[in-house]
């Protein structure tokens, strides 16, 4: 079985249906599902909607060689 490594997930959400989605913060978690749970509970000081998480490593950034 594969060990679950903790990863950083960026948390995104918006305040109102017409607002742009913005980055709220980040959480460290072993799976994206639990990252989503952490995000909902850790960032509930405001009434966010459409909260999503995405692994930080999933954000593509070109290497200096390809730039």
């Amino acid at each position: 079985m594969t060990a679950l490594q903790k990863k950083v997930f960026w948390v995104f959400a918006r305040r109102a249906p017409t607002d742009p989605i913005e980055q709220v913060g980040s959480v460290t978690a072993p799976t994206e599902a639990i990252a989503w749970v952490y995000a909902h509970i850790n960032y509930r000081e405001r009434a966010w909607r459409d909260m999503r998480v995405v692994a930080r490593e999933a954000f593509y950034e070109p290497s200096t060689e390809t730039q």
């Binding site: 679950l4 959480v27 978690a29 072993p30 599902a33 639990i34 509970i41 850790n42 509930r44």
Partner: protein, 223 residues
């Protein structure tokens, strides 16, 4: 099933008694969960998990308060003191109800089973014809989704525990669920509410399917 009822006084005496029994058990279960989550909220493996546990503890205590309020205001039952369970004054390590569960995997799996048992009853109560119960059950069920997801997803992290530590978790879940069902499960009270027309005939089946679904997710998480 009878039409929606707005006040406890509209219920028959047997219906009030069955509801009281059910709500007392659910309140106790939620106080127990709140105590365990709070006991662990500075001991989890990450700060995010600590905060999640603190939030879940607040929610469970909030649910217990709501149910206790229904018991007191609507069903004329004496208030169930949460301090019996969560204050140092009443702490007794020799009593299972008052003992903090000793290991992180053990707490997660035991609380998942107890949470599943309580959440299954809440799920069945969403269709209660006594409107005040149904409204509150709906809100509680939404929050319970987070708790169960937290539990099952955390179980995935136990796959790589050393030695036999992960092997006993399925047995622990089965034992904890059986214990929760015996102490707080409320199947009999729900069946009685069906007989009395407060719940649709499918309510007991709904509860059983809900429990089955959580068990499947648990076993899938175990790998």
């Amino acid at each position: 099933m009878s039409a929606a009822l707005a006040f406890a006084d509209d219920l028959s005496v047997p219906a009030q008694e069955s509801l009281r029994d059910l709500l007392v058990d659910l309140t106790r279960a939620k106080q127990q969960l709140a105590f365990q989550y709070a006991s662990w909220c500075i001991r989890a493996p990450s700060v995010e998990a600590n905060i999640a546990l603190a939030g879940m503890s607040q929610e469970e205590l909030g649910h217990a308060g709501v149910l206790d309020g229904l018991l007191g205001d609507e069903l004329k039952h004496p208030v169930l003191g949460k301090d019996e369970l969560v204050s140092w004054e009443h702490w007794s390590a020799s009593d299972d109800d008052h003992a903090m569960l000793g290991t992180w995997p053990g707490m997660i799996v035991s609380c998942l089973a107890l949470d599943a048992s309580a959440a299954a009853s809440i799920e069945a109560l969403k269709a209660c014809s006594y409107a005040r119960i149904a409204q509150r059950a709906l809100k509680m069920a939404q929050e319970e989704q987070f708790h169960l997801l937290f539990g099952t997803e955390t179980v995935k992290t136990f796959r790589d525990l050393p030695g036999d530590a992960s092997k006993g978790l399925a047995g622990l879940y089965a034992r904890s669920l059986a214990d929760a069902e015996t102490r707080f499960g409320a199947s009999k009270a729900l069946a009685r509410l069906v007989e009395l027309g407060l719940l649709a005939p499918g309510a007991v089946d709904t509860r059983a399917k809900f429990l089955q679904g959580v068990a499947q997710r648990f076993h899938a998480a175990c790998g």
